[in-house]
């Protein structure tokens, strides 16, 4: 659809007075803030909706912290791992081998759990630190 509009507030002569220019400038800034502010408002609503969705999805899923077989007893407050949560022995062996290669002997794996989703910067920092050393 074609629209041909002229803003009555902003109609300016070729060489406007200073007061007209200031009024024009302020109107322009208001328009820019109004448009981007509207998008901000809508994005906040959108974010809330998606946060509610992910919260309800998270509550439906189970806790995924996994305790290794042979690790020290977990505190009583923590729920005991169910049979479904147990990691495959091959995976535990693989992680143990990777840890041994990286940090050497004298370690003990206490727990294996997935990383929290909002720790990307920390993960990137860790990745860079590890990448800067050659493991022996």
């Amino acid at each position: 659809m074609n629209t041909a509009l002229t803003l009555p507030l902003a109609a300016l002569p070729e060489h406007p007075e200073i007061s007209e220019t200031i009024s024009f400038q302020l109107s322009g800034l208001v328009v820019v803030f109004l448009v981007l502010g509207s998008i901000w408002f809508l994005l906040e609503i959108l974010g809330k909706i998606f946060a509610l969705r992910s919260k309800s999805a998270a509550s439906a899923s189970k806790t995924t912290t996994i305790v290794c077989p042979g690790a020290p007893a977990t505190p009583a407050a923590k729920p005991a791992p169910s049979a479904d949560d147990a990691l495959a022995p091959e995976l535990v062996a693989l992680i143990a081998a990777a840890v041994h290669l990286t940090v050497g002997a004298g370690h003990r794996i206490v727990a294996i759990s997935p990383m929290p989703h909002n720790a990307h910067w920390a993960m990137e920092g860790r990745r860079q630190i590890f990448a800067s050393h050659r493991p022996r």
């Binding site: 902003a10 300016l12 200073i18 981007l36 509207s38 998008i39 994005l43 906040e44 959108l46």
Partner: protein, 417 residues
């Protein structure tokens, strides 16, 4: 034989060389030096410089130009020879109503290669198509994760409006002042789009100023950022951004396009293509189209756009007093935009103590993507090497692209109709 050689010499281009052309060759040399030796926006400055060189050589069959009554050389004008279309002599004479249009047959069209390519600017095709590529290259995730940075993108548009007043006071007309002010948005395609619409006679100077200053962002912005922030503010660590889902990104593209077009219809061409490119990128089922938009389309158009802009830089119109004023006003626009972004970030911190914003990301509201965001990140790292501001700064950076397009739409709706 000697006479033949002398006759031939009269057909060469040497006799058409003027001192203004020589000056422009110097300008071209500076642009090429900046692009090739210094690496300042080479993708655009090289085609612009080459176009400027072509425009200031006595070429034939490349581009036509004519002197308008206002003293400005208008390039890429076609000479079309037409004759009234003859109906078949056997056809019955039909009654022709008074409002019927007359049909002509085009006998001959005179125009060179660049007359055709330059239509991409004249008909406002290139800037929106480049925005398609920009949209396909841009990740709006940081902005969706932290939408309050939209205000920083809006604040950085203050430079446009302040420069508008400066240009008005320096004697430019309202339309020219608006076209000059948009340099502060640091968005080349938008600057070209607007200046072609409002002040085509200044297109070359505005484009060169916009792209030159965009390439100088790492030199222009840091002193202003340091001047307006304290050590403590520069070390502010911002909260990690949340993960944004694919659906959110798709809704964002459609939502922003609709809101912008509804509120500022004159920004439609730019915003619609920007968001189309972004939707193609995020939907995940149009891989071939995204690759084309991100590579072939934007690269080919960049060559055509740059050369066409350079071709408008004829000595007659470029070596005017107005060009120097535009260069000065351009840097003012940039500085004010940078400062206003930083100051609004500080102001927002007064209201949001729990999740403060590092004011260094405010300067990224000028939409030189992603250079302005990288400058914010590098400045932050100078004071705290463990502070990663890049993704946070991308929020205001891409908001600045939207903000500049909206501001351009406001100017167009005020002056172009």
């Amino acid at each position: 034989m000697l006479q033949n050689l002398l006759d031939y010499l009269t057909t060469t281009g040497f006799q058409f060389i003027t001192w203004q052309m020589l000056v422009m060759w110097g300008v071209v040399a500076v642009l090429l030096w900046l692009a090739v030796a210094k690496g300042f926006e080479p993708l655009l400055l090289v085609p612009i410089a080459f176009g400027a060189l072509i425009a200031n050589l006595p070429t034939r069959g490349v581009i036509t130009s004519e002197l308008r009554p206002d003293g400005v050389y208008e390039t890429a004008t076609f000479n079309v020879e037409m004759s009234p279309h003859q109906a078949s002599p056997d056809a019955p004479a039909a009654h022709t109503p008074a409002h019927a249009s007359q049909t002509y047959k085009v006998e001959k069209v005179e125009g060179g290669l660049y007359d055709f390519i330059s239509q991409g600017i004249k008909l406002e095709l290139f800037p929106p198509l480049i925005f398609l590529g920009v949209g396909a290259l841009t990740d709006f995730g940081p902005l969706i994760a932290m939408p309050r940075t939209l205000f920083l993108g809006a604040a950085a548009q203050a430079g446009l409006f302040i420069t508008f007043m400066g240009a008005s006071l320096m004697g430019f007309t309202s339309k020219q002042a608006a076209a000059i002010g948009i340099i502060g948005g640091a968005d080349g395609p938008t600057a070209i789009f607007l200046s072609n619409k409002l002040a085509p006679e200044l297109l070359g100077a505005i484009a060169v100023a916009a792209y030159s200053y965009m390439s100088l962002v790492p030199l222009i912005q840091p002193p202003i950022m340091r001047l307006l922030t304290t050590d403590k503010e520069r070390k502010i660590r911002m909260k990690s951004l949340r993960k944004v889902s694919k659906l959110e990104k798709l809704i964002f593209a459609v939502l922003v396009m609709m809101v912008c077009i509804l509120l500022v219809p004159d920004a439609s061409a730019l915003i619609a293509m920007l968001m189309l490119g972004n939707f193609l990128r995020e939907c995940g089922v149009t891989e071939r189209l995204v690759k084309s938009a991100q590579n072939e389309i934007i690269n080919v158009l960049t060559i055509f756009l740059g050369t066409s802009v350079g071709l408008t830089m004829r000595a007659d119109s470029f070596l005017a007093g107005g060009t120097l004023k535009i260069i000065v006003l351009g840097v003012v626009a940039f500085c004010v935009s940078t400062a206003s972004g930083v100051l609004v970030a500080k102001l927002m911190n007064c209201f949001s103590k729990k999740y403060p914003i590092n004011p260094l990301i405010g300067s990224a509201g000028v939409s030189a993507v992603p250079m302005a965001a990288r400058v914010s990140h590098n400045e932050g790292q100078k004071y705290d090497s463990g502070n990663y501001l890049l993704m946070h700064a991308m929020g205001p950076n891409v908001a600045g692209v939207i903000g500049t397009a909206v501001a351009a739409g406001y100017f167009i709706s005020s002056f172009a109709n």
